[in-house]
């Protein structure tokens, strides 16, 4: 038994004809940790999860879960994992309890055991009162919680959570975070994807930043932020500052002692400096001398947002995607998000 419950080497997934959704990534997940996969929509997070959960086949590279090659014995992998997809997969015509019972049946859980687990899970995700109502009447938050509890029916060693809080309001989000932490404390290894920096920062012991199917950076949240080694001053310019504003500003700022780096980013520049607060007056004066008109100046201690910006040159935008759904026998689905 190796220490790594997930081991991925040079994994590639190409969707026909030529979309390289995952483009040669390597990483590992240690037993017992919460591992975060942080990136914007389309970064390849879900594709990676689908390869690891045996839902799709890889194009190249190797992927091992609990020491088992994903193509060698997918059935063995399915026995030890739980998976909550980004889009909840619950049956709206069944009640919450019936959804859980079906799941228990599919995982061959003996009946008395199953009822005990179901009761415990319903309590843990706070769905006891709604348990015998049709899942179609649930709110977005309740649906997400039911889906999460379904993934936990088999008591998986390894739990995959694909954007567990996307579409949730802050209260539900905090509840899900809390629950994920408790699961992890109870010994479950968790592989989590998210497009929220704060979520990765709070939950993950280690994380990868992914973009365009590649891993841009890897480490603990603290080490990644420490890599920036500086505070960040983000500047954007007024439109009448002219096309040269950016280069003029860069030239002016790089002459200030203490500024380590100036980087072009979406909508302006990012200035990296230790003890930036004391440098702000000099920055303002230098820009004034260079006749650059500033629209906005923000000073932050490094966050994962800055890490993302440093490695990709872009700000990470969060997009909520809810594809339209069809229900041919009369739509009775009510999806109030939150």
């Amino acid at each position: 038994m190796t220490d790594n419950i997930i081991d991925v080497r040079n994994l590639v997934k190409v969707y026909e004809p030529d979309v390289r959704a995952v483009d040669g990534i390597s990483f590992h997940v240690k037993r017992g940790e919460v591992f975060g996969f942080l990136g914007p929509n389309g970064a390849g997070k879900t594709t990676t999860i689908k390869v690891l959960t045996t839902l799709i086949r890889r194009t190249a590279g190797t992927a091992k879960v609990d020491g088992i090659n994903v193509d060698a014995d997918p059935a063995a992998i399915r026995k030890i994992i739980g998976y909550a997809a980004q889009e909840v997969g619950i049956d709206d015509d069944l009640t919450g309890r019936e959804n859980l019972r079906l799941q228990a049946r599919l995982y061959h859980t003996p009946k008395p055991d199953a009822e005990e687990r179901i009761a415990g899970l319903l309590k843990a995700v706070d769905l006891e009162e709604a348990a015998d109502r049709r899942a179609g009447t649930y709110s977005g938050g309740m649906r997400k919680r039911l889906d999460l509890s379904m993934a936990l029916i088999p008591r998986p060693k390894l739990l995959f959570l694909d954007e567990p809080t996307t579409g949730l309001d802050p209260q539900n989000r905090a509840a899900v975070w809390d629950y994920i932490r408790r699961l992890n404390e109870a010994g479950t290894t968790i592989f989590l994807t998210t497009q929220y920096m704060d979520e990765a920062d709070r939950l993950a012991n280690r994380l990868c930043i992914v973009d365009h199917g590649k891993i841009m950076a890897e480490g603990t949240p603290a080490s990644l932020k420490a890599e920036i080694g500086a505070d960040v001053v983000a500047l954007s310019f007024k439109e009448n500052g002219g096309p040269d504003a950016r280069s003029a500003a860069k030239a002016a700022l790089l002459s200030i002692p203490g500024i380590q780096e100036v980087q072009n980013v979406d909508g302006g520049i990012a200035v990296y400096a230790k003890d930036a607060p004391s440098l702000v007056p000099q920055i303002v004066l230098a820009l004034n001398d260079a006749r650059v008109e500033v629209a906005e100046l923000t000073l932050t201690h490094p966050t994962l947002d800055d890490v993302f910006m440093k490695y990709t040159g872009r700000k990470m935008r969060v997009e909520e995607v809810t594809p339209p759904r069809r229900n041919p026998w009369g739509a009775r689905r009510r999806r109030s998000m939150g």
Partner: protein, 272 residues
Amino acid sequence: MTAGEFLGEVTGIAGRWIRKTLRRPPFLFFSLVQPIVWFVLFTQAFSSISNIQTPKPGGGFITFADITGTSSYLTFFSAAVIIQTVLASAMQSGVGFVTDMESGFLDKLKVAPIHRSSILIGKLLSDGARILLQTFVILLLAVALGVGVATGAAGLIFLFALALSFGIAWSGISTFIALATRNSESTLMISILTTFPLLFLSTAVMPKPLLPDWVQTVAVYNPISYIADALHRLIITGWDWAVIGGAFLVILVVGAVTLSATTAMFRRAVSG
């Protein structure tokens, strides 16, 4: 994978579909009312068919009763209503897979440590249960309207067996289309177009000698004719093992083709 586990998966999945049907009262209501509508409409609109006579080569006439064994179009048409109802159920069987693909429920089934064929078998079993219920309603109505079953209680068992096995074999068509198109509208459209004309190009709604020549030719190659002939024997004229056995053989062949095509398509759909 033990047999007990497999059975648990299949019944769990079949139970889910049956429960879903019961939870949609309008759907359940119309699947039961539909055969009644067919029965009443057709037997009323075409009741005079039984008065049709065709000239006999040596003089005189052959009557409807001579050809079919009954002078009641109602009795003759019972078989067509059973077939039509089975076809209608089979045609929308595939739609459930499309909704499961769209909702993400299929992914949930696919990551579970189940034998993947239980997804397909469970669904087909639930369709079979609905077909049995519908056939029961039709027979109840037919008997209430004065239709007698020539082969009696034993014949009823064969009648249910024919409806069930034919329904499951035919479900393979819409399931195949559903898995190939992944779209519920196309599934319904294509399966209606491939199925409905076959009913009218068979011996189900009209005795063979009364069909135009070219339709008679088509009817010989139309599997539905064989089911219709067997049902006619069971209801009207009595045991005829050659015809009944022939119908089961046809169902076996149709089922082998549709279900192996569906299984292949299903493998493709679940392997991604």
